[in-house]
């Protein structure tokens, strides 16, 4: 315990010695400060006294509490913590493992009465300290903003700390693996970003293909339903049109199913970075007084793969329901398996190497 504590204290000193650590914290607080400056009233959204009229966002449609929760999840977590802050965290921490295995540094630690496995895994955990501190500061500041401005003291906001830290740990495990393999901070950073991009692309692709698959199913069901209703011979033209559409739709189904099977198969073995962050949606926005971001309107143009005969809102709810049909344990469990394998390989390399 004494050694673990010493390594963590050392890691904190290392982080606090880096300007980027304080810069990231300052930006975090600035982002929350901007949230605090935003408000919602009867006519729309206000910012430092100015009001921007909005039919979608006003106190008539959205409570202040939900408004701030939406800001926190959609902008704060998804964009700031999920992208920008993560990039800063990777830049800051990508050197932790290469620095650990650097000649002259590793000698000092391996000569101590601590096993290599414990040393490596403890160092890995210190890398997560940065992300955890960032999210904690951001969540605490947001907690007060939502409490003071939105009138709701939402303790569930702090769920962002473990969720975002877990999300970061998925990326940092790859960073650690590359770091121990190449002993280079630059290689760790670049290859981790590349891996993240690939994972993100596969996630998005799977999401698009899944939307297409669901749209196909809904479209077919809708056409079948309309066909059943259209029994009048006067509507023969319409029946032909519906039958033709149904045949086309059913003809496309195997393609959508096959594409989804492969994308979903690949995604299953990869860390669920996007799905992990979406877990916050489930906890914070479901049950809120306002429909969440995917259900903001029943109107408006249909999405690229949306069914033509189904209302947009209905389709979006179906997609969201399908996304949420994957249990939390599937999202976290498969990601943990990936992280465990990557981290296990990195540990084996670290333990077996001569320095």
């Amino acid at each position: 315990m004494m050694q673990t504590l010493a390594i963590f204290v050392g890691a904190y000193r290392e982080l606090s010695a880096r300007k980027i650590f304080w810069l990231a914290l300052a930006i975090s607080l600035l982002v929350v400060g901007l949230f605090a400056c935003l408000g919602i009233n009867e006519t729309g959204i206000s910012f430092l006294g100015w009001t921007f009229e909005s039919p979608m966002f006003s106190t008539n449609t959205t409570s202040p509490e939900t408004f701030y929760k939406l800001l926190f999840v959609n902008l704060g977590v998804d964009w700031w913590l999920g992208v920008l802050s993560t990039l800063l965290a990777l830049v800051t921490t990508c050197g932790i493992i290469p620095d650990l295995v650097a000649p002259g540094s590793i000698d000092l630690l391996l000569a101590k009465p601590i096993t290599r496995t414990r040393l490596f895994l403890t160092k890995y955990c210190t890398g997560l300290l940065f992300a955890a501190l960032q999210v904690f500061v951001f969540s605490t500041a947001s907690f007060f903003v939502i409490g003071l401005r939105g009138g709701a003291w939402e303790w569930a906001l702090f769920a962002a700390v473990p969720i975002v830290t877990f999300f970061y740990s998925l990326l940092f495990s790859m960073c650690a693996f590359i770091g121990v393999l190449t002993r280079s901070s630059v290689a760790s950073l670049i290859l981790t970003l590349l891996a993240w991009t690939i994972i993100f692309t596969i996630n998005i692709s799977e999401s698009i293909v899944n939307s297409g698959r669901i749209a196909n199913q809904m479209e077919a069901t809708k056409i079948e339903s309309e066909l059943a209703k259209t029994e009048d011979p006067v509507d023969e033209d319409k029946r032909e049109e519906l039958t033709s559409d149904l045949e086309k739709t059913l003809a496309n189904r195997p393609t959508w199913d096959r594409a989804h099977f492969w994308f979903f198969g690949v995604k299953t073995f990869l860390p669920k970075t996007t799905d992990t962050l979406k877990l916050l949606d489930r906890w914070l926005l479901d049950g809120a007084s306002m429909p969440s971001r995917n259900e903001e309107s029943e109107r408006g143009p249909q999405q690229a793969f949306g069914p033509k005969r189904v209302k947009r809102g209905e389709f979006q709810r179906a997609v969201k329901a399908d996304e949420q049909s994957h249990s939390i344990w599937w999202v976290l469990g498969t990601s943990l398996v990936f992280e465990g394998i990557v981290l296990g390989l990195a540990t084996v390399i670290f333990v077996r190497r001569d320095y």
Binding site: M2, A6, A17, L108, A111, P113
Partner: protein
């Protein structure tokens, strides 16, 4: 200053055979070709300063790193502090300062020493107390709360020494401890090493500076191309080269070349008689002062002026050079491990 009583506390490991390091048959091959160590056997007695010598790539650092678990040996029998190699109990009782160490430069000297103590499982009050004492002892008392980024190389070396001593070690392993230290600092470090030995600790010193080793080490080992070619006290290792030299005025006495005259020397053998300006140096191999008396008597009876008469032995540098020279070719072995 840490007292001798304090130095050897209750948690000291009992060295049953009086050997701090007792390694046999240590082998290490890097990859498939580079044989860094080939059956090295090393014994370091408790309470001595032991010097490990060898040219670059001889395997010194590999041997030290194997003891400190930084490198994994192919085979390594024996013990370090009466425990198997890499035993955590033994590691907690070893202080180690590697060559080219890299302490984080954002830490202060005190933080470096305290971190080293924590990693060696020294409790907080003890390591705080020792950090202060040791930094004073290595002459860094005035700098202990400044970051390492403001230190010179020699100052970092001193802090490294303090960090190596914070766990109250029974065995101190130092790899080039005076690297980057000025002559005054070297003298201070040498005195520090002697002080450490006087406290009852064992010191394994790996250094290229032969004079440094000669001044402080009671025993040495020489590694060449992964093999131990010599081990013992400097006296033992140079005894075969011990000789008696007499310098007399004028040319060499004519009897020097007579076999009968040589036979008159009770124990010894004339090695050479060389002219040096207006004097002559007579060298007798294996002769001591007592055995040289008949020769001196004869020189005096011949009215020769004896300028100097003394027992001479090889210097450590001579011994080292002899060890690293191939006796068959007379050439110095190529640097590096054997392949």
């Amino acid at each position: 200053m840490i007292s001798s009583q304090n130095a050897m506390n209750n948690s000291a490991i009992d060295l049953a055979n009086d050997l701090a390091i007792d390694l046999t048959d240590v082998h290490k091959t890097y990859g498939r070709k580079i044989r860094a160590l080939q059956g090295v056997t090393l014994q370091v007695r408790a309470g001595e300063i032991f010097g490990l010598l060898g040219p670059n790539g001889a395997g010194k650092s590999t041997l030290v790193k194997i003891m400190m678990t930084i490198v994994r040996p192919d085979t390594a029998k024996g013990t370090v502090l009466n425990r198997g190699v890499g035993d955590p109990v033994a590691l907690a009782r070893i202080g180690y300062l590697p060559e080219h160490h890299r302490f984080p430069t954002y830490l202060t000297g005190r933080q470096v020493v305290e971190f080293s103590g924590a990693m060696s499982k020294v409790d907080r009050p003890t390591r705080k107390k020792r950090a202060s004492e040791l930094l004073d002892r290595v002459g860094m008392g005035g700098w202990k709360d400044r970051p390492l980024s403001s230190y010179s190389k020699g100052m970092r070396q001193r802090v490294g020494l303090a960090a190596a001593l914070v766990n109250d070690p029974q065995l101190v392993v130092l790899d080039e401890p005076t690297d980057g230290v000025d002559p005054v600092g070297r003298r201070e470090i040498r005195d520090l090493l002697i002080g450490i030995r006087d406290e009852g600790r064992t010191v394994l010193l790996n250094s290229h500076l032969l004079s440094e080793i000669e001044n402080v080490c009671s025993r040495v080992a020489i590694l060449v191309q992964g093999r131990l070619v010599a081990q013992g006290t400097i006296d033992e290792l140079t005894s075969s080269s011990r000789r008696y030299e007499i310098v007399v005025e004028g040319s060499a006495p004519p009897w020097c070349s007579e076999s009968a005259s040589v036979r008159m020397i009770p124990a010894g053998q004339m090695l050479s008689a060389g002219i040096q300006g207006e004097s002559c140096r007579l060298v007798f191999l294996g002769l001591d002062a007592l055995g040289a008396q008949p020769v001196l008597d004869r020189l005096r009876s011949e009215q020769r002026t004896v300028i100097a008469a003394q027992t001479v032995r090889e210097s450590l540098e001579d011994l080292f050079m002899r060890a690293v020279t191939d006796p068959t070719t007379g050439l110095i072995y190529r640097p590096g491990a054997s392949t």
